[in-house]
């Protein structure tokens, strides 16, 4: 290579790098303004002192973070664990995990069913899956409420059939929250699972049967490893919004079965403790982050490359 071609090559390379930055600029600006910025504001608020009528006082304070996990007795100033918060965080994590698992159990056969239809029929099934998205979540929540309340459809039918004599308390229980959350989040599981299953080469399934694998073995040894990317994507898409659910636990869980989303809302509303709300929000972000890291790392260990 002569000196001139070398110079031309390095100039072209520099230009390409500049172009790349220019092309990704809109996305970078959006991420800075819409994601990183607000998060920094929340972080800042979490280390300020609460104002008397909401808002914050512009002075540094550890009060918000202190109250996330600990509480000081109003009378004798003894410090104890804030069991209410820990309980709510634990409940939220538990319900979110159960929701994710239930969505997977229900969503996998659904996605498999759609992916194994003839190609021109699949879009109809996908369309049906997405229809609930068109309706406001609040309305869907109230619809479920109507169905499972003591005088609601489910109890009425069960009583008419003589299966039960008195209505079962379903509304305002964890069952109600789970029912609502699975219903609301199911499409988020089905769609990525479908995307993975649709790419699955069904000849591999045949090859499995041919090599003496029973249906269950084919599922475990061939289908699940190959659609793992879809399972991971779907689980993340369900787990994160489920963990920070607000509307569904509010409507179906009543006032007493709080989830962390409701707790945070409480701090910004009636609680008038914005720093605590902010600190709880950041805690939630950290939990999600760790959960995702753990999940992806473990799933990656056994996960296979996709053809």
């Amino acid at each position: 290579m002569t000196e001139r071609t070398r110079q031309a090559a390095s100039a072209a390379q520099k230009k390409e790098i500049t172009n790349r930055w220019l092309l990704s600029a809109p996305a970078l600006v959006l991420i800075a303004v819409a994601s990183v910025g607000p998060l920094l504001i929340v972080l800042l608020y979490s280390v300020l002192a609460p104002g008397s009528y909401g808002d914050v006082k512009w002075e540094l304070s550890g009060q918000g973070w202190f109250n996330v996990f600990l509480s000081r007795d109003i009378f004798d100033d003894t410090i104890s664990l804030a069991d209410a918060h820990v309980t709510i965080l634990w409940r939220s994590a538990k319900l979110a995990v159960i929701t994710t698992v239930l969505c997977l159990i229900v969503g996998f056969p659904t996605a498999y069913f759609i992916a194994s239809r003839a190609p021109h029929n699949r879009s109809i099934w996908l369309f049906l899956i997405t229809i609930p998205f068109w309706t406001n979540m609040l309305i869907r929540g109230f619809a479920i409420q109507e169905m499972i309340r003591n005088e609601g459809l489910a109890n009425t039918i069960l009583m008419k059939l003589g299966i039960i004599s008195a209505p079962i308390q379903m509304l305002y229980t964890d069952f109600a929250i789970l029912l609502g959350m699975v219903y609301v989040h199911l499409p988020l599981m089905v769609l990525p699972l479908y995307a993975s299953l649709e790419k699955l080469d069904f000849r591999l399934v045949e090859a499995g049967y041919d090599l003496y694998a029973t249906r269950l073995k084919v599922l475990w040894r061939i289908i699940i490893p190959l659609v793992k990317p879809g399972i991971i994507a779907g689980s993340i898409l369900v787990f994160i919004p489920a963990l920070s659910s607000y509307v569904i636990p509010r409507i179906l869980g009543g006032g007493k079965n709080l989830m962390v989303g409701n707790l945070i809302e409480l701090q910004f509303g009636q609680g008038r403790n914005w720093p605590l709300g902010a600190a709880l929000s950041i805690t939630l972000v950290i939990i999600v982050l760790f959960a995702m890291l753990y999940y992806v790392k473990n799933a990656g260990k056994t996960g296979g490359g996709h053809a």
């Binding site: 045949e206 090859a207 041919d210 490893p225």
Partner: protein, 365 residues
């Protein structure tokens, strides 16, 4: 001499119909086949002839709507694929992308619940059989198409199936590799002594590899026989036409004499022809003559056929000559270039044609 008396697979009156009512499609109808033990048996036919459907019925991926399929005398038609001692080499190999070469090969034995040490030994045997020892820990995406083909073969052979099914396994390979794998498959079949049922649409491949061939079209078996029988003694027009190049001539039956029939061609020449066993020819018939079974000669009055050269195509090893006969039909000759230089005829020359002894065969239709 290989033991060939015992039947590995008997296909008895098998049919496969899809759909019902007006949209009914018959993929296979009334198939009868006897496939002998240790045989390299080929199902040959154009796409859509039902050969793959038949293979899938034997493998168990699909079920016949009629008839039965016997494996060493036992009806396997109702069994799911994982209960049949039959394995398949798939057209696009269908290797498991999340497993290594060795894991792929061991998968069948693992599913059969064989002990780990036995699996390891067998996998090594199979790797050696297909010369893939060096690749055992590669993921299947990291090896070439030809190597994937070998792994697919090893994977299907590892559980020692009673019959190995091969669904156009060579169609994805380039020409040179395909030739190589043809030899390789024959070698493996001879070494393992397993019955092979091979599906292909490539007539050359079928002729080169098979002990016997079943020619299929439109869901029916047209003819079953050794490669030379299929080629030299086609029973009907479809078989003659599908395999190689052919000349069809109209003729009249003059007399029957045992296995030979004397026919008269349209120019009055008399010719001896063979005929399918299940046919009693009479009246007007069609005979077929392969292009390489006729020779060009200078015009003479004793020649079987005369005509004028329409065109010549030089192909290196051979020359193709098309001769216009007096009845205006074209007769193709393939003449080997066994001397250096042009063959000494040119377009427009009047020539006569000699037909090799026993080259004419009467068709059923």
């Amino acid at each position: 001499m290989r033991k060939q008396q015992e039947l590995a697979i008997e296909v008895r009156g098998v049919g496969r119909v899809y759909g019902d009512g007006a949209g009914q499609v018959t993929a296979l109808s009334n198939i009868f086949l006897n496939i002998r033990q240790n045989e390299f048996f080929t199902l040959l036919g154009p796409s859509g002839c039902g050969k793959t459907t038949l293979l899938r019925l034997i493998a168990g991926f699909d079920f016949p709507t009629d008839g039965e399929i016997l494996l060493y005398g036992e009806d396997i038609a109702p069994l799911p694929p994982f209960k049949r001692p039959v394995n398949t080499v798939f057209q696009n190999y269908a290797l498991f992308p999340h497993m290594t070469v060795a894991q792929n090969i061991g998968f069948g034995l693992e599913m059969l619940g064989r002990p780990k040490t036995e699996i390891a030994t067998r996998v090594e045997e199979m790797l050696a059989l297909v010369h893939m020892e060096a690749m055992r820990n590669r993921k299947v995406m990291q090896i070439s198409g030809g190597q994937q083909q070998r792994v697919a073969l090893a994977r299907a052979l590892a559980p020692k199936p009673k019959v190995l099914l091969l669904d156009e396994p060579l169609s994805a390979l380039d020409y040179k590799l395909r030739k190589e794998m043809q030899v390789e498959l024959k070698r493996v079949q001879a070494e393992t002594g397993i019955t092979f049922i091979f599906v292909t649409h490539d007539q050359e491949e079928a002729l080169a590899m098979s002990d016997r061939i079943a020619v299929m079209s439109h869901g029916e078996v047209r003819q079953v026989g050794a490669p030379w029988e299929i080629y030299d003694r086609p029973a009907e027009r479809f078989v003659a036409d599908f395999i190689g190049e052919t000349n069809f001539l109209a003729a009249d039956v003059i007399s029957v004499d045992g296995p030979r029939i004397r026919v008269r061609l349209s120019n009055g020449s008399l010719l001896d022809a063979t005929y399918p066993v299940d046919l009693m020819p009479e009246g007007k018939v069609t005979i077929v003559i392969r292009p390489e079974h006729a020779q060009l000669a200078t015009p003479s009055s004793t020649a079987m056929l005369t005509g004028q050269i329409e065109d010549l195509t030089y192909l290196g090893t051979d020359t193709h000559i098309r001769v216009r006969l007096p009845d205006t039909s074209l007769f193709t000759i393939r003449q080997q270039n066994n001397r250096v230089g042009p063959i000494g005829f040119s377009a427009g020359d009047a020539v006569s044609l000699n037909i090799s002894e026993g080259a004419a065969q009467i068709l059923k239709d």
